[in-house]
């Protein structure tokens, strides 16, 4: 039996000032089908999702869309929802102070005689949560839920806002902020929806999960559909090639020269990191580690294992109590605030680029932010030297920008990450702490950034790479330490490094 098409988009063209976002895109979604949308940043994934969700009004694009055989003409998000389509954004936007039920009906509060109908709101929330199998008290404050559950609640709310199930659910990188286990929880529910005839489009950069959940994979490139494949293990290579447009060279696995063990750049003994609250069990409990010059040391663990906390503590950026001895190039140091770490030649490339870059500042200003003293002459900022220095790093790291005066907020995720790296190289940092540096970055750029880590290590930098993605660590690390519940669970050398081994050790099975 061939399922009937739910939605057909034909020849969609969407222009933004100076950019052709969609170029004659054709897309078909069948009833009860789960479609993964893949493609590099800028391929047009967000644009088509936003068109379907009514963010870009009918008439602002060319081409035709039909939904169940009838023309789809939504001009607002509300109209798209009334026609059975809703988009759940990548970032969870909730009001923590309000209850779950209040959040779920935000903007569509049920009323009776013009007054708020609290009982109906609660009932509707219960029904939606039950339909999506989320076990949460709708009266609980939203802030009391963890991020993953908040996301499930948001999806449930979108699914049921019209008082009936949607036909097509669009999820933009739903797993970007989730652990593997949480992602599994989400996918189980999406599969259950499929059984009830609900279709789903989702975007993800994690190929492994795409091939476990999706029925079909659509690859987009330059605003067009570059092809569609059934999601089967044997199509995987073809999909990757289509995404990269054939540009990918052969898989370069690191062939780093064995680092001289006596050349230790960063040494930590008995690191203990506690929550700012203090009383609870330490988040990191007696960690020892050493990173040599020219080495890439990985730090891996499931959520709550303490990897991120350890890295932040080593940068002096952790808000709670920290104990332990730290030596930088043999000298014992105290890192009480980021400024201390910077002064010792340590740099932090954080996962959240919005947190570390000043978006309304230029590329040049962001690059020199940690080395302002070097571009200062007699107390005054030497603007020419600042731009020159920035231009040097822009070309060294192949950062794609129109000029060093471009605002950082206008760059793609991968280039923003490179700006962070440039900042630390410019400040003369010899030790780089990388915390999930490629989160939310597309596969092609990720390869480029991994190559950058290897190049930096070859130049003699010491790199500590914390990642929630085993694949990334396997690709670049010389050695990986695995943490479990804040303590060292084991160490895996380059020769024995594979994803399964990492995951097993992290989970303790």
């Amino acid at each position: 039996m061939t399922p009937s098409p739910l939605l057909t988009a034909t020849g969609i063209v969407k222009r933004f000032p100076g950019v052709l976002a969609l170029d004659r895109l054709d897309l078909t979604i069948h009833e009860g089908e789960i479609v993964a949308l893949l493609g590099q940043n800028g391929a047009g994934k967000s644009t088509i999702m936003q068109i379907l969700a009514g963010v870009h009004a009918h008439g602002s694009y060319e081409g035709t869309i039909t939904m169940r055989g009838r023309p789809f003409t939504a001009a607002t998000v509300g109209q798209a929802r009334a026609q059975g389509i809703a988009l759940v954004a990548q970032e969870v936007n909730v009001v923590g102070e309000l209850s779950v039920a209040e959040n779920m009906s935000l903007g569509a509060e049920p009323t009776r005689l013009g007054f708020l109908d609290g009982a109906a709101r609660l009932a509707r929330a219960r029904a939606a949560l039950a339909a999506f199998d989320v076990d949460v008290d709708p009266r609980a404050p939203m802030a009391s839920l963890d991020l993953a559950t908040q996301q499930l609640v948001s999806i449930a709310a979108a699914l049921y806002k019209e008082g009936r199930l949607l036909d097509l659910l669009i999820l933009d990188e739903p797993t970007a902020a989730l652990t593997d286990k949480e992602a599994q929880r989400l996918f189980e529910r999406v599969r259950a929806l499929k059984e009830r005839g609900v279709s789903c489009i989702f975007v993800s950069h994690r190929l492994a999960e795409v091939f476990t959940i999706a029925d079909r994979v659509v690859v987009m490139r330059d605003g067009r559909a570059a092809g569609a494949w059934p999601a089967r293990p044997d199509t995987r290579d073809e999909v990757v090639r289509a995404m990269l447009g054939g540009a990918l060279g052969d898989e370069q696995r690191g062939t780093s020269a064995a680092p001289a063990p006596d050349d230790v750049a960063l040494e930590v003994r008995g690191l203990v990191v506690r929550d700012a609250g203090g009383a609870r069990r330490p988040l990191v409990d007696g960690l020892d580690l050493g990173v040599a010059k020219g080495e890439i040391l990985g730090l891996f663990g499931l959520l709550g294992a303490g990897c991120n906390e350890a890295a932040l503590a080593l940068f002096g950026a952790w808000e709670g109590p920290v104990a332990g001895r730290v030596r930088v190039e043999g000298e014992e140091v105290r890192l009480r605030r980021p400024a201390d770490a910077v002064a010792r030649g340590i740099g932090l490339v954080a996962q959240d680029r919005r947190q570390s870059l000043v978006h309304e500042h230029t590329v040049a200003e962001n690059i020199v932010m940690a080395s302002l003293r070097d571009v200062t002459r007699r107390g005054f900022l030497d603007v020419a030297a600042m731009r020159r220095r920035a231009a040097d790093y822009v070309s060294r790291l192949a950062i794609k920008v129109p000029s060093v005066d471009a605002l950082v907020g206008t760059l793609s995720g991968g280039n923003q990450q490179k700006v962070q790296v440039a900042r630390w190289l410019a400040s003369g940092a010899r030790i780089l702490l990388l915390v999930d540096p490629t989160r939310g970055i597309d596969v092609g750029t990720r390869h480029e950034i991994n190559a950058l880590w290897r190049q930096l290590a070859a130049d003699g930098h010491a790199l500590l790479l914390v990642s929630s993605e085993a694949e990334e660590l396997v690709d670049v690390c010389d050695r990986v330490l695995v943490l479990r519940n804040g303590a060292l669970a084991g160490e895996i050398g380059r020769a024995d490094l594979d994803e399964e081994r990492l995951l097993r050790m992290a989970a303790g099975v």
Partner: protein, 378 residues
């Protein structure tokens, strides 16, 4: 033209067009009295106190901090000056030094509460607004302390002669040109710009126009010392904000405090220094205001100055959410509000109407700015 002048200049000039429209309106309705050298010098003098306060307001708002206490702090500084000179016959130079020190101490006090105790600056300076005024009243028992010695009063009423004022403007312009040429040459040597000429011409032109206007203004009676003080303070502040690491850090802290911290900037320390500078501004503004009034009036000196200063900064394009703002913009904002006061007074419009009009202008200016930014973002 947009490309040649650049976006910033164009944004500033929208404000200049607004001022031009207002000036032409007053010029017509006052039968040509408004745009005389005499009235414009008076206007500059009337705007001077708000301008001084607005400069420090920009420097704080850029870091997402507010100062509601400036009016009261200025009154307290005035009390220090007046008590020392009138009651204790202290030499004016000593009194001025004591006033500046008192201002810096007040800035340090408030800065400590904000950076060490983590109290929001809005609350710290709201409290300051109340107790600085209170202390001023207690210290003077609510009575006016006057008259000041002539040498102090001269600060506010004195003029620099036309010839010297014009020579000063020319010298300042020459120094600026020398710096800009040197900077552009260096930029070319480092390979960041190709041609020196256009880069210099572009940044030099507004200053040349400013200096020409200044010279014309000075050509009749000269320029009040107070106006020169404002110009000097503004130039100094602009240099600090645009050309020193400290200034870049101020903008970074306002633009994204977390990013600033994670790049090794000692946010608390920078903000504290910012408050010290605000304190220095209390001192300077307090001395200027006291000299202009001729004595200390604890109850009314500097009343609502904080609101005028913040309004001027906002009209001049400073973003309330931090990270964006220019000192020169705030001066233009102060000038715009001053023009309304001055023009309406010439037209004999009652004070109550004047305040209403100023409120409306503030609202309009911010709304227009929002509109322009939303369009710019598309």
């Amino acid at each position: 033209m947009r490309r040649w002048l650049g976006k910033d200049v164009l944004r500033d000039s929208t404000l200049l067009f607004a001022i031009a429209a207002i000036w032409i309106f007053f010029q017509v309705t006052t039968d040509g009295t408004f745009l005389t050298q005499r009235n414009l010098v008076l206007l500059a003098l009337q705007t001077s106190i708000v301008s001084l306060a607005a400069i420090s307001a920009v420097m704080l708002i850029v870091t997402r901090n507010f100062d509601l206490s400036v009016g009261s702090a200025v009154a307290l500084v005035g009390v220090v000056v007046a008590v020392l000179t009138v009651k204790h016959d202290a030499p004016p130079a000593l009194a001025v030094a004591a006033a500046l020190a008192a201002g810096v101490a007040m800035g340090a006090w408030q800065g400590l509460w904000v950076t060490k105790m983590g109290v929001s600056s809005f609350i710290v300076t709201l409290a300051g607004m109340l107790y600085f005024r209170g202390i001023s009243m207690v210290a003077t028992d609510g009575s006016t302390i006057a008259p000041l010695p002539d040498s102090l009063a001269d600060l506010a009423t004195g003029f620099m002669a036309p010839g010297r004022a014009i020579a000063l403007a020319a010298a300042a312009l020459a120094v600026l040109a020398a710096f800009q040429v040197a900077g552009a040459r260096r930029a070319r040597a480092l390979g960041v710009v190709e041609r020196v000429g256009p880069a210099v011409a572009r940044s030099f032109l507004p200053f040349a126009i400013g200096a020409a206007a200044f010279s014309w203004l000075a050509s009749r009676q000269g320029i009040p010392y107070l106006v020169l003080l404002v110009a000097g303070a503004a130039i100094a502040a602009e240099i600090v904000m645009r050309r020193t690491p400290f200034g870049v850090q101020l903008y970074a802290i306002g633009g994204n405090p977390e990013a600033a911290r994670l790049s090794g900037i000692r946010v608390g320390r920078v903000v504290f220094i910012d408050f010290l500078i605000a304190g220095l501004a209390y001192g300077v503004t307090g001395v200027a205001l006291t000299a202009r009034v001729g004595g200390a009036v604890a109850g009314s000196a500097g009343l609502f100055l904080e609101l005028d200063a913040i309004s001027a900064a906002i009209i001049g394009g400073t973003s309330l959410t931090g990270g964006r703002g220019r000192v020169f913009g705030a001066l233009v904002g102060a000038l715009l509000m001053g023009s309304l006061n001055n023009g309406m007074s010439l037209m004999n419009v009652p004070t109550f109407y004047q305040e209403t009009a100023r409120g409306a202008v503030l609202l309009l200016a911010v709304a227009a700015d929002q509109l322009r930014r939303r369009r710019g973002a598309r």
